[in-house]
Amino acid sequence: MKYLTLNEEILLLTIWRLGSEAYGVAIRDKYVETTGNSIVLGTMYNSLDYLVKKKYVMTNKGEPTPERGGKRKTYFQVTKPGLTALKRTRNLHSAIWDGVPETIFPE
């Protein structure tokens, strides 16, 4: 069974969390905020493209703004297959984390 990679998982959830404001810059900001790592915009878009190709995400176009030099935004949205994939991955996490006590972790 195909699972999501960690990055894909993070991106999908981020998109979901942002709801209707899920576009490039916002996704990136949230990603940086959550993981603490910066990410190159191009890399992120690459991964997003891949997600679109796998049909986990779909895109819409938005309005242009002056800060963007008059260019439009592309909004991302998680699709049903995407949500299914997320669920699958979450079940996997539960499965593998099941019953693991806090005490095993070192100080």
Partner: protein, 850 residues
Amino acid sequence: MYQDKIKKPPSFFEILLKRTSAREKDFTISGDFEELYHRMYVEKGFISANIWYIFQVLRTIQIYSMNSIIWSIMMFKNYLKVTFRNITRDKGYTMINISGLAIGMACCVMIFLWVRDELSFDNFHEKADRLYNCVMRVEGNWWGSTPLALKTVLEKDFPEIEKVVRLAGRNRDFRRGDYSHTELGGFVGTEFFEMFTFPFIAGDPEKVFENKLSIVITEEFADRFFKDEDPLGKVVIMSNNQDLTVTGVLKNLPSNSSLQFDFLSSIENYTNIQRLNNSWSVELNTYLLIRENVDIQSLREKVEGVVEKYDTRMDHEVILALQAVSGMYLYNIAGGGPITNVYIFSTIAILILLIACINFMNLATARSGKRAKEVGMRKVMGAVKSNLFQQFYSESLLSTFAALVLALILVYLFLPFFNSLAQKQLTFSMIGSTSALIGLVSIVILTGLVSGSYPSLLLSSFQPVTVLKSSFRSRNSGLNLRRILVVCQFSATLILIIGTLIIFSQLEYIRNKDLGLNKDNVVTVNMTRQMRSNYRTFIEELRNHPGIINVTAASSIPTQVGHINPVYWEGKTRDDYVVISHVILEYDYFETFEMEMAYGRSFSKEFPSDRENYIINEAALKLTGFEEPLGKRYSIWEDENEIIGVVKDFHNTSLHSAITPTVFTLRQKQFPVSIIMAKLKAEDIQGAIRFIEDTFKTFSPGSPFSYTFVEDTFDRAYRTDRRVGTIFRYFAGLAIFISCMGLFGMASFMAQERTKEIGIRKVVGASVSNIILLISREFFILLGAANLIAWPAAYVIMSQLLNNYAYRTDIAIWIFALSGISVLLVAFITVSFQTIKAAITNPVRSLRYE
């Protein structure tokens, strides 16, 4: 929140970004970038924002490039798959194609190695670009020999010249203990080793001739005389009277040196210093090393008149010229030389490669019809013309590469054979040298580009609509170009064949031409110093042997006249002289060689005055204009006497040059006789030779005995010609082979394509021969056109070649006719072989497809 003035990110990188993210996202990414940039700018300032932006752009570009590379690799995998499928589906055609290319490339490579070797002659000397050989033009004839005193004069008058050295190339006999052998070599000044690069393996180059009774030898010489001993310091005896100490041993000379020798001794052993510095007798070679950055043209102008100025003996017109050592081998002073062969073979190489490439193009283009549907589909699926171009070009490059591998194998296998043909020692590893690799790579690239060009262009231009219709007539794709290509191919082949035949007939002409003398079974023996006083007795002794018909002696053998002298005659003054060839001989010279007299008689013992009189040849007679030559006055230098005979012209040099006017004397004034010649009976030649050897040993004990046959020396002059002829023959054969392979492939392909047509014709009542004629007719027309082109072209080229000969055969019509007909025949057989197969197929089978 945002400033009134909106800041724009650095434009260069913005453009870069837009260019690489070729995604139809309405510039979304760049919009995101700008937004972030703006934020950065506000928060962190101008510099940070810019740095961030540039970094982000670069990384993004990197990601996108990797993407497209991965895509290209994926496409390439597909192309490879398709190519392999094509190859395995048409194994026969692919084999034909690749082998044809391989043969063409192999020939190219071998000829390339040969040319490289030829061009490298004498270029291994460190100072090769500054070394020159002195040559003289006397009265219109060129001579490689120069006067003894030339060196002194050149050193004195020309500061542009750094060093001058004299080289007297002579053979000498050497003895050590019981072993004696004649060795090739010469006498040089010490500067020789500073000018020419011949590495020493033992001995000090600067000290070798400190003591003049020294000798420098090569490894080969050392092997012969000293076997495993160290030769340094040991003694060999030269000419049976001089003890020379070995002061140096040289590495064996490379084969691409026109200076070949096994020993070198001090020039003072050749003659004394007085003579060396003052005599203007023309006897040896003079080489110069000019200073760096000297203008050779102006030096050439300055030295022109040197010999005329200082040689006061006569008023010759003598022009001194400087020949570059690096070109010495390739370019004969009088024009022509081995360089002609270089041009010829380079042309052959190109012709053969062309034929092979044309083959490839033809076959590939012909089969392109089959791929038409594939191209159509690809275009429908979104392929652009450049994609298709890429695909088909990589196919042909792949074939070229496979051909290269095969070609290298062929070269490896056939190089020894080629070496024996061309008398060279080329090795396979020579391909590894830089210049060779460059040459090889360029051959491959050129072949790939040329042979792949047309098929690729044609295939990628197919329009989907046209090709996907079932009515597409694939066999007409590129028909006209293919016709042109076949014509070119066969023209080239015909040129090669005609060339071969012409060379062959010229060689036959040489072999059969009446030379004006009979040189069969004549043995020559060089006189030794010991024999100089009593050689006449030697001759008489030889005459006694029943197996020896006649014996004589001369200063040169009849086919190699080299000495010259000025002459004048009745009606001319001494200042009005002409320089002609001069042979000094003993009685019975003309009789030994069965030369006929046109006027008068030969020298005879009955007339003591003959010792001072002259015989001239017809060419010399023509110069005088006498109608009654007998009794007329004739002079060499100051010796005036009369003409007692005129000998019919005989060829005194190879047929490359005209017969020179020659005068013959018994008087040994200017130079001596040195060669004894004996005509032997055809039976028991070995017995006669043994007798000569025994007699020789009694007259010249301790000297090695060696003999040659006049006819061998004569034939040797044509060795190169024969070799060229043989090589031509092989290459012509190869060319025919390749062309026919191509024809074979094409014919079988066409036959296949026209199966239905043939089937219908048979049903309607055509016979097998009708069909064969029908299909072959097209090829015949093309061949006819090829003949039309090839005949004049071959005529022009071969006339150039034949200009090397003063005496040549006529270019006969039968040669052209024969080539044309034989090519026609071979082509016909090839084509009909395939068409017969198609023609005897049961029409039912071929028409079944509908």
